[in-house]
Symmetry: C2
Subunit: 621 residues, 2 copies
Amino acid sequence: MRKSIATVCLSGTLTEKLTAAARAGFDGVEIFENDLLASPLTPEEIAARTADLGLSIDLYQPMRDIEAVPEEDFVRNLRRARHKFELMRRLGADTVLVCSSVSPRAVNDDSLAAEQLSRLADLARESGVRVAYEALAWGRHVSTYDHAWRIVEAAGHPALGTCLDSFHILSRGSDPKGIEDIPGEKIFFLQLADAPRMAMDVLQWSRHHRCFPGQGGLDVAGLLRHVLNAGYAGPLSLEVFNDVFRQADAGRTALDGLRSLLALEETAGVLPLPAPVVPSGVAFAELATSDPEPVGALLTALGFTRTARHHGKPVDLWARDEARVLVNAGAAGRRTDTALAAVGLETADPQASARRAEALLAPALPKRRSAQDVPLESIAAPDGTEVLFCATGRPELPSWTDDFTRTADNATADRTADNATADRTADRAPANRTPDSTPADRTAIDHLAFTQPWHHFDEAVLFHRTVLGLSPHDTVELADPYGLFRSRALSASSDEDGPRLVLNLAPSPEEDGGTRARHVAFAVDDLVAAVRGFRAAGARLLRIPANYYDDLEARFDVPEGELETYRELGILYDRDEQGGEFRHCYTETVGQVFFEFVQRSGGYRGFGAANAPVRLAAQRR
Amino acid sequence: MRKSIATVCLSGTLTEKLTAAARAGFDGVEIFENDLLASPLTPEEIAARTADLGLSIDLYQPMRDIEAVPEEDFVRNLRRARHKFELMRRLGADTVLVCSSVSPRAVNDDSLAAEQLSRLADLARESGVRVAYEALAWGRHVSTYDHAWRIVEAAGHPALGTCLDSFHILSRGSDPKGIEDIPGEKIFFLQLADAPRMAMDVLQWSRHHRCFPGQGGLDVAGLLRHVLNAGYAGPLSLEVFNDVFRQADAGRTALDGLRSLLALEETAGVLPLPAPVVPSGVAFAELATSDPEPVGALLTALGFTRTARHHGKPVDLWARDEARVLVNAGAAGRRTDTALAAVGLETADPQASARRAEALLAPALPKRRSAQDVPLESIAAPDGTEVLFCATGRPELPSWTDDFTRTADNATADRTADNATADRTADRAPANRTPDSTPADRTAIDHLAFTQPWHHFDEAVLFHRTVLGLSPHDTVELADPYGLFRSRALSASSDEDGPRLVLNLAPSPEEDGGTRARHVAFAVDDLVAAVRGFRAAGARLLRIPANYYDDLEARFDVPEGELETYRELGILYDRDEQGGEFRHCYTETVGQVFFEFVQRSGGYRGFGAANAPVRLAAQRR
């Protein structure tokens, strides 16, 4: 029989995947949409490459959340489908996979599903393609193959058939015998996968996936309160079977475990720790480098000005409005690459921050880096990043800015170092803004992203949550061409303007020193204007493939001109369920660091995770 | 509150774990039994070390499958408990964890459980210790904390209390409020762990753990037959979301996938492949080395004789009865360490074996390594091992032995090269054995163990199963001090004497070149006699800690003198459910290879997995 393989089975770029499939001797491929979006090749080039390799494109996949939805949704879905059918024509693919809907807007109505799939099939037939409808095992209303087939049968449309997937059928324990009742010509496609019989029973869960209290999802503190109410007076003892801990450094794991118990006691109300002082913002990001020129050139093109210099060390302060970056060339000889080495967090009470950190076993760093420096409270995060507690612009407290002397480079820089905090307050109230404000004038640090060392992701999340009092968001997975990144953001829950930290875990230890997930993101008010400025100044920005914009057009109602602007400038776009919008773009990488510029509106709280696969693939090139 | 940590949470040796716990600031530890067994320290030394570090031993754990069993079982359990209570006295540990029984021999009888636990507690009290009874979430009859408490309450014994574990309670969704009804002084211990809310729903299972057909546990071939019966004529398409495949080399993954489809078609009866020729034995194991002296010295001490030499290359044949090892010094310059590089498998029809391999995309290697060599069919296994198909002693076929010339070293070696197969046949029928046979005279290769490259474990199992026609055993996990090994054996299902291959997967990529899981195991009839011979000849064998033998005494009725012999000689012992016995020992490691000697009796089919943690820890030293 002809044999195909979905590109999602293989690692690497789309080109690498196609080559591997052809060399192994496959006859065809399924093109997984994300692989196409991340590819710099046009659909026509992909078609030509595939044909040259002797492969057919047997399936394009997936289209999701199409059927059994309110009419207004379905009209939007048809619009999206028209884009995809046109793309398939360019690719030369004649079958598209439609998975059963998982959307909460889908209704449990087989006749509506059949009617809408039939209308989709009408459109498909016009475009010369056919639709293979598949029951996802976790579909909202349609989750078994026989149910999907009943809907296809009811629709009775020649361009509509079913797709069978061995995983979806067998994982649910469905009896595959009933397949024989489906006419063979209506089985448009067969996808095959096996899986270990795991389904993670509680024994396996226990033996491999336990973690320290506060690192998982169980209410351990609630349980502890009941145990204490019972009168238990023995020790709190950690018993954690965890595949990662077995390999990690025992000393670090032990500290991490003890920290988890201290935080647990605090949550259970039996140990009063110094209260957390949630940071209110980012005072600065500090890059260490042995060669400050390339990053200086990039910062200049990004509209930053060198405004001040450390009085005793080769450290420059670069600023663009409220966004401050220290470039520390004192690391010469120790480090070759430019790297994100430290972050200054604004806190109302640096000493209280330090007391909290100490109580939670955070390693304190020397208060002064050299004899003449202002003393600053500072700790080491689990990934080695230095975290300094800053109280910028509070004259009664020592300030990191006291170590810096204004340079004559730029007159507008005056306010940056001395009045940074006052400025932020002013910027929050637009009425108070200084007359020279321009729309792209409110640059500030939006978030910082750090790659975490292999084995220490949960430790890092617990550390930042407990020591800094930040709130973790959900973990998301980001598909890189060579593996999955785990990513988890933390932010001040009460304060939209507080610092946001994003912790990324690379898919394998080899990626530990990887450069593709460690960066500083700056927020601006008008990203398009800012990017035009960067380009005029010669900054090199990350190039985004055209396929991404074709997909954007299918997914969102972005006004035509706006989309063209994004395409021209390499701006990525996302929109959340509530209509909040996120526009962002990336610079080239210098050493081990790169910059992102973001524009948030409508209360968007995420970080553009939907765009991460395209960005990560682009950074691979 | 006092804070403890179970040694199982931390990586490394027991000493490293204790040090890490103390440095982090814990007050005490739970000693996990396996950590003690693998330690070279005596219980008294562990007690002293722990005290020096300022730690108490708050718990010794676990004791399993104690209660609610037939009286004869319980008497044996009490005997085991007496050993453990004595051990606890030496350790200075006053509380032991007893987990609820998972044994199929346990009965659902709370009053029997209470009565037997009460008798256990009597014995404990005499020894000055107390018993903390815990409900495992997967306990056979007792799986909830309130059930365990009802049994403890019914027993009403001062030396019997309950142990609570947050994972076991919360993972089952039990309401922890009821804990408050337990008197605090009867809660002897509290173990804390969290866990991600996963329980592996089908979506997560699908997104991360799919694999190619034949690599998992789903009946994909059965499903395919139904689809074909329905009349489907489209392609077979692989759609596999797998975290490992995302990182692995795409070319290898594609080949692996295509092989899985070919094997699937064969299983479903739609593709006739050349039938597998199951190998009937191991002709030889070949070591490559740049320095043959150390391994030659070791083989000599192990009773091997250099019997023949390759006519054109620096390859020596070493033999001890039917066990043949080639030492190939032709790799000088390419490889520094001695390594297991090739295996010759006996097959009735080498060409048919090669046709099967070719049909399943196994990479064929050149038939002759150099111009004057006998042509031999040979392929490369996924881990790079060369597999040669041999038909030793069949004059009508080319034989690998034709390349070898007998050396004058040893008269008894005459028969080895020429008549190896005939000899094996003779050995199977004891009546035909040659008069000079001695009890330790039937040495043969029992199994070969290979470390698999990271990312390619499932591929290797599929390869050996389909290409060689071997049957995989269940996957087992072996705890190394620094992580878990996965291990899976394959053997000829129909033939006890056929080759056995053991594939091991190291816990992390760093271990890929690891030396601790690649070895040749030789079967002998009388291991004790053989080991005495090795020691007399100066062979260095792996030293096994005394704690292991103390535990052996508690677990099995090994006659006193026999146990002392094992302890003296470093022999490990295992017994299966059916009473089959396994005795084995290990040599020192030379380069990247070591040897094992095994003695099987009573139909024992395993590989001593229960002893692997002790062996792996000993090899770390």
